[in-house]
């Protein structure tokens, strides 16, 4: 199992361009986190006082210290980002709704500011090999999530999201709470309840409510405000009911082991999903 590689499939930061006038927040946060690293390095250097004679301790603990430096850079940037967010949210409270995608719209403007503030801490914590850093980062930004969720392989928005227990977001799947449609900008709360699984490369649009034990199969797409019923598997773009999710019942090992050996006639089963291509080369 590897992480998404040189082609970064989903954006790992919040989805907006850093507007030029808000760049000051961004630079400030980067500055503070780099300053922390610098300070710690200076501290280490000062403690061991390596001048002309070499010091074994310094070299022995350097790899661990680099680790600690990175962690502290993340946490310092997170703390300052949280501070900025509190101030920004105090001035203008984030809310759901349909807004105009223009700088004259106050909600859109403040959403941009919030996104720019979150960009650097999210990026730096996503670039950390320990997967739980993403969860900590989202928790600090105010997303309801738990450590039992695995969200780090996909791209998850940073506000108006509610996760239950044991949620799994597949590889490069996208869970959004804000979307831009033409000139409109929509924010709606997305809720993923307990044991929800979002398949690889799927997209969950804003306002989607996935109820307990529902599964969105791979390469599927939900519509804005779609409600996925309790205990069903959904497939397609837009997602349609496919079949009942019986796989959370007990003692199915042997049945599944048998089923997985059989060949599935998928062509017939998913006939409804397709517009058939018919030409002289097609043989059925």
């Amino acid at each position: 199992m590897s992480v998404p590689s040189s082609l970064k499939v989903g954006p790992n930061t919040t989805l907006t361009l850093a507007k030029k006038r808000y760049l000051i927040f961004y630079i400030l946060l980067i500055w503070i986190s780099i300053f922390t690293i610098q300070f710690e390095f200076w501290l280490l250097w000062d403690i061991y006082d390596i001048g002309y004679e070499y010091n074994v301790h310094f070299y022995l603990f350097l790899p661990l210290m680099v680790f600690v430096m990175y962690l502290s850079a993340i946490f310092v940037s997170l703390i300052f980002a949280k501070l900025m967010l509190t101030i920004v949210n105090f001035i203008h409270k984030p809310r759901e709704g349909i807004f105009l995608r223009h700088s004259s719209d106050k909600d859109y403007r403040y959403w941009s500011i919030r996104s720019v503030i979150k960009k650097w801490p999210l990026w730096i914590s996503h670039k950390f090999p320990f997967p739980f850093m993403n969860n900590i980062c989202l928790k600090i930004f105010g997303v309801k999530t738990r450590f039992s969720n695995s969200l780090f392989e996909g791209f998850v928005d940073t506000e108006f999201l509610d996760f239950g227990k044991n949620v799994v977001i597949g590889q490069s799947a996208i869970v959004q709470s804000a979307v831009i449609v033409g000139n409109l900008f929509i924010i709606r709360k997305t809720i993923l309840e307990e044991n929800v699984v979002v398949g690889a490369h799927s997209i969950v649009m804003p306002g989607t409510h996935m109820k307990k034990n529902s599964i969105l199969a791979g390469s599927s797409l939900t519509t804005v405000g779609q409600e996925l019923e309790d205990g069903w598997i959904y497939l397609g773009a837009p997602a349609k009911k496919y079949k009942r999710n019986v796989f959370s019942e007990e003692d199915l090992e042997h049945i599944i082991a048998e089923e997985i050996e059989k060949e599935v006639k998928i062509d017939i089963k998913t006939e409804d999903l397709y517009t058939m291509r018919k030409d002289k080369h097609t043989k059925t």
Binding site: Y59, P63, S148, K240, V246, A257
Partner: protein, 298 residues
């Protein structure tokens, strides 16, 4: 458009246990206890890199030269570090596999199941290596990483832009896996974990952003189009192109593969009538004249 795929089928009481959809193989729960392996691996390999740098700085005493060579050193040190990580991870993996041999099958995806716990442990360990390789300045060395940690692949295949499980995957010759693909040999469905071997035959192509599920066997020279998913245990016929959003379905025979097989051309030449074909080739104007002259002489 109907809300559901097939209303009669959905309303019937019969329970369908077939797994004909793709979910994900992302670990369902982050095993924080397994992260204890990370610290010794990172420390030991980090120490390897610092020791290397320390030795070099002892040999080269002149700080001007050291400063001049610093960018080069950083580059080298990074790879010393990455190979250290790969080495120590392999060591741990060998030990773990001696305690519990990885095997295919259907297991419970719950804490307490031995197979599931060891699968998670292997995943967490391999993830570290692939993470460092992918995020480095030369991401294609991850192909070596795949080979090192248990995927059967040789260097004629390309998978560096895809996400892959770290085991139970077998490659033929000259396989191309597109950008952003997900090649899974394990999948979590509800409470169950399915592990099954994936085999990609010779000269197969997987298009961008596709999902390959556990148990998929791609015949030689078959193609999976972009944004397509194969279902578990799907066998793709050799020489066919499969396409379809969500689930792979037969599209047409892969005629493009025939162009590579020059033996077939040699066979057919005598049986068919010959045509004289003038082909526009990318040749400079003055050289075209030469070409025409030589034809006239014949």
């Amino acid at each position: 458009m109907s809300d559901s795929l097939d209303k009669e089928k959905l309303n019937s009481e019969k329970i369908d246990y077939t797994i004909d959809f793709v979910t994900t193989s992302a670990v369902s729960k982050i095993g924080i206890k397994f992260l204890i392996f990370y610290i010794p691996i990172i420390w030991a390999s980090g120490y390897m890199a610092t020791a290397f740098f320390f030795d070099m700085s002892m040999i080269i005493n002149n700080w001007v030269v050291t400063m001049f060579l610093l960018p080069f050193w950083i580059f080298i040190l990074y790879f010393v570090f990455v190979f250290g990580v790969a080495l120590f991870t392999k060591g741990f993996l060998l030990m773990i596999n001696m305690i519990h041999k990885p095997k295919e099958g259907v297991f419970r995806a719950e804490e307490g199941d031995q197979d599931f716990e060891f699968w998670r442990l292997r995943v967490e360990l391999k993830k570290l290596v692939f993470w460092f390789m992918n995020n480095g300045p030369l991401p294609w060395i991850v192909m070596w990483g795949f080979r090192w940690l248990g995927i059967r692949v040789d260097f004629s295949s390309h998978m560096q832009d895809a996400w892959a499980d770290g085991g139970f995957i077998e490659f033929g010759r000259n396989v191309t896996v597109g950008q952003g693909c997900v090649v899974m040999s394990s999948m979590v469905v509800g409470k169950y974990l399915i592990i099954k071997k994936v085999i990609l035959g010779d000269y197969t192509v997987v298009g961008g952003v596709s999902n390959i599920s556990p148990g998929t066997i791609m015949g030689n020279e078959s193609v999976v189009g972009a944004f397509t998913a194969t279902v578990p245990n799907q066998h793709l016929e050799p020489g066919w192109i499969y396409l379809g959003p969500h689930v792979a379905r037969k599209l047409k025979v892969n005629k493009y593969a025939e162009q590579r097989r020059d033996i077939i051309y040699r066979k057919n030449v005598d049986e068919e009538t010959k045509y004289e074909v003038q082909q526009e080739v990318n040749i400079d104007e003055d050289k075209k004249r030469l070409l025409n002259n030589s034809n006239k002489e014949e």
